[in-house]
Symmetry: C5
Subunit: 322 residues, 5 copies
């Protein structure tokens, strides 16, 4: 679905143009065309392939979707795939995709399986004509920057979740819930990692070394994107490692708790076993058990039993078992 | 066993040729020969070695089989080994091998220990004469692409298996089955990894840096293969890491479950120990135990025992032990 | 907030200058200006941006803060971000930031969210005119060196904390506290690591390879900073690894302790079970139990019970269970 | 001990020569000398050092032995150390060493602490005069290939051992034996790894980049050796990782088994505790316990006890505890 | 403290010279001066700084000590820091430091906090005038070689300690001691690692790539040092990994032992619970319990109890629980 198609000259919006008028504008080197599509159909893809002379493999990638993020050059055209991330209503991560074709005087962005509009990017770019003047390379940067900026709240949400888990990891009785949440969190991080790491690599190629022609004037800007991605990537690595440690700690806490329960069990079992043993002995049916006939026999027996239990209790207490 | 041997010119099938006619066609630079063998015999290997002037070490590798995937250059001839993967009837992974020799005007593919036919590759290639025109390099790409494409359903199956395990990892009483399945899964992943990782490396060499002569015109295509392999490789790494975490989580769940059982055991042991101790005391044979003679002694005793048990039960419940 | 703004010539303090006089001094190539700000406002940033012709992206980074440490070149101006670390009153790590702009004849340092003054740097530098003579590059080094030097006591504090934990890791009953402290410590180390590792990388770029113009004369000095950072980084890695091992050891100790408790529990349970079983048998109500009528029956029974318990106790003792 | 010393020309054996005649043959550029020693004495080493003008440090390494595998150049002479591996009678790994000096027209191999003869290498090489014609570089390859080929059965034996352990890792009651065997296996793998990894690195240097003069004509052959080593190395890495997982799985199985025992213990303890409690209550000595006087009191009591036990048993069974 | 100061020419000792005479000898290019100091004072450092024109940062490093091992170039002077390792009387590792300045015709070694004398180095060097003739570079090598050689017995001691622990890791009841020793051993290895790894890196720089002027003639010698360090480093890595595995194994053994104790506990608890339950039943006070009046009731009861216990014992035995 075509969203819009605008021609720019000297950083200023020239006109909304009809698809058929694109080739006229492409012929004029002083202006460039910025086309935005959404969930492009076969026909649309075939059309832009022909119009802009795009490579078959790139179009195929755009058609199939589910690519890993990348930046590839086909001649003087750059083809980039970036992934968008959104939380669904059920708090799961939904992965969408934006395919971007950048040529000397055109930019085509195709948004797939992704709710967030990229309209804001165009508006913001049009408010800064001195930058938009740079051309297609700047639009490419603006799109990439917009997608990457939207990773930040995702990272924040994941960090908040981890902090929430950490807040109760040392509480007794929470191990079962914690381990489940940690596992779920780790899976989300893996999803984000898959979006970020390959993109980081690709962004690096737009910053240093042999930079594609269309990005030459915006190297400093892509370095900025690279920087954001590097920070996000570092956060993800930290999250991942912390989760690993938290899983270990959770296991340790379970073992510690169990060990404390075992100690309590052992202590009380000991105390009652002693009481029962005494009672058992005085419950034997021997004829000649003189203490059974004493007048104060029973109270004495109860006293002995109670005293033993108290002594045991006190010793277990002192040993930290109770 | 020779499957077929066809000469192509200008991207079109020229003729099915007899092995003896190969040298005639090799002499004509404008056409190339594509030979497919299956579980080649010593004699066949010796023959193609002589006919195409292949290096002894490469032929030896093809003869022995069980090589790790690789792409090697011997002069202007490229020798590639790729592994095929199939699930057997008993759900195990079977590893086959395809050896490919690519020269300026010939391609030889030898399929070993592998059920899947590669016929489809030839058919598809013949349907696209504008690509087949590129020559031996394109056939090489088509073969490699076909093999790599067949990795994808394997990966999907492994991911499904992991998801199935994840679905019950937090269910009590499943730990024993989970750990076994996780271990089996990890072994399968290792098998796939051995097929993919060295190939990824080799595919990289066909894409950038000093690319072999015969692949110069198909660099963009091999980059596509490389991209697929990179995605598969990333999936494998994720699978591997997730399995590692799942094993840890499984252990944690076992420990948590055991700790809960221990708590229950301790609680019930406590409750009954108290009951038994009371009963033991009133079962002692002292002569002067006044309560034994009371009319309501027995019901009172039962009441005391029951009350103690209820109090204990309630306290254990509140502590989350029951 | 402007802290001070001083012009230097030939390594000597020329004069405290007003912001408006800066451009006059910048025009004189033989002197350089060193400006220090703290928590700079929008207006101040806009002003220095214009005055020194700084790049918009660098200014934006300085405005937003929370960057990862880095050293970037914008033309012949170097922009560096370093993080400051301080312990708060509640023993947590507070991360501040110093942004440094270094041009051919100016240095601007902007301190954000950071209690520690950098005044000492200026004083020390002014005491060594033969070094200050080198120019802006040396001031850059002096600032970086000052920040890095303040990492050392942080590392020492973390190492002391680890040593304190190690001191009681083999003590029984401390597992719960240890694990919590180890987890907290690991988090602090992660914070420091985030400040150090990217800076180490950046400092490397100031030492070897293509060094920015303004740092050419101070390569040996930056190598010194690099060296400090490398040492700190190695310490952090060791700390991290040791904590990992300590967590494992802590878990092992818990398991060992529990296993010892289980043994004790088993041993005492066994001893009392035997006593209770004997008592139970002689407490049965059969009519014909001859030993019940013996005169020495009761003492004999007690003796048998006691003897059995002693034998069991002795055997458990020998087996190391008690 | 000198094993043999033969001169070759044009790939054919010229003559067995006496040590004193070596220098005559070295003077003739068209032939080369291949000397094999075994556990060389000081005198022998001193002699070949002088005769072939070998570097002192290389001779010292050959004298001391216990070097890590390496390939070093001293001028136009290549000095290589490779390790041989053999299983001893008690199934332990014995590490020997072969030191190889390769010059433009000589090869010296010194076998140390190693039972396996390298005679086969000479025989095989002499059967292929078209290859032996290549000269000293080919002999170097043949020796290295022979040593590396003997690693393969070692790897197979280690893989078999791992498979044997895997076969019983999920069997109850085998944990103790498994863990011991896994630990022993890991140590053997470490020994093999120490032989293989540094050699892999060195073999890489004989294949690509700046290859030593004497190996220029045999690059493809050394790539073959490199390939074998890479495969072996990958197998070792897999073995190592699998052992790591197996140790984890073994621990999990132990924990799972224990957890099952704990459940059984808890269930039976519960059942008998209930029976004992009932018996204890009816064993109390209260005067007014009407049910004790009922005619069917005893059978009823037995019935109640049995029924309770059966109900409990059934519930535990359903919960999977029994 | 100055130990000695000797001038050499043509590999032979010229004379012990007074500090004041140094500059005279430095002026003669055909001879070089070798100075050894120990725990140098401020004054001594200031003096050699001036005499040999050393860089301030290097002198500062020598003054402060506690540097990480490194090799740095300041102009044509090389400054190296290596760490010495010694076991103290209490079997702890003591870290000392040797700072070495190497110029075209002088070598200065400063030994800090280190008991071992380096006198032996000078003696050995003077016995080999053909090598000492090489000049300052060779002395540098000899010093480094001497320090590195002393690492070997340390490694051997650590390996012996590990072997001793391994010898009892599968013995029951040793877990507590093992874990402590493993942890201590790991800490020692970390200390050695900190001395070796940075030095390995630095030694690499003296061997290949752009080698400092003064070391050009001794590249092969430094490669030898590099080789030793690489071997030591590999041993350390193996030690470290083996300790990791040993800690895991130790935990596994504890868990296995505990699981065996739990089984024994469960089995005996079961046996006695049955006996007690029977005794309890026949200890009930029902009036109509016919078996109580049988003449052979008591022996029969004892028989039933004993038989049940034996059957249970036999079944537990067969199940491997006892």
């Amino acid at each position: 679905m075509l969203i819009n198609c605008v021609a720019y000259q000297d950083g200023k919006r020239l006109a909304d143009i009809e698809p058929d008028a694109i080739s006229d504008h492409l012929a004029r080197p002083e202006c460039f065309v910025w086309i935005a599509l959404r969930d492009a159909t076969e026909t649309e893809l075939a059309k832009i392939k022909e119009e802009f002379n795009l490579h078959e493999l790139a179009i195929e990638d755009a058609r199939n979707g589910h690519q890993r993020p990348k930046v590839e050059e086909y001649g003087d055209i750059v083809f980039a795939v970036v992934q968008t991330l959104e939380f669904t209503a059920t708090d799961e991560l939904h992965v969408g995709e934006v395919d971007i074709f950048v040529g000397p005087n055109f930019v085509i962005s195709i948004r797939n399986r992704c709710q967030q509009a990229l309209l804001g990017v165009r508006e913001r770019a049009e408010r800064e004509p001195h930058l938009l003047k740079i051309g297609a390379g700047f639009v490419f940067y603006a799109l990439m920057d917009a997608v990457v900026d939207r990773y930040l709240p995702i990272i924040d949400a994941l960090e908040d979740e981890l902090e929430a888990i950490e807040g109760q990891i040392f509480e007794p009785g929470t191990a079962r819930g914690n381990i489940k949440r940690l596992y779920m969190l780790k899976q989300k991080i893996t999803v984000v990692k898959h979006a970020v790491t390959p993109l980081l690599e690709s962004a690096g190629k737009l910053t240093s070394g042999r930079v594609p022609m269309v990005c030459l004037g915006t190297r400093d800007y892509f370095r900025d994107v690279y920087d954001h991605l590097a920070r996000i990537n570092a956060s993800l690595d930290t999250l991942r490692e912390t989760i690993g440690t938290a899983i270990q700690v959770n296991l340790s806490m379970t073992t510690i708790e169990e060990s404390e329960v075992t100690k309590k069990l052992a202590a009380w079992a000991g105390i009652f076993a002693v009481a029962t043993a005494f009672a058992g002995i005085w419950g034997m049916n021997f004829e000649h058990m003189p203490e059974l006939k004493w007048h104060w026999g029973y109270p004495t027996a109860l006293g002995v039993i109670a005293a033993t239990c108290v002594v045991l209790y006190w010793r277990f207490r002192r040993a930290g078992w109770l």
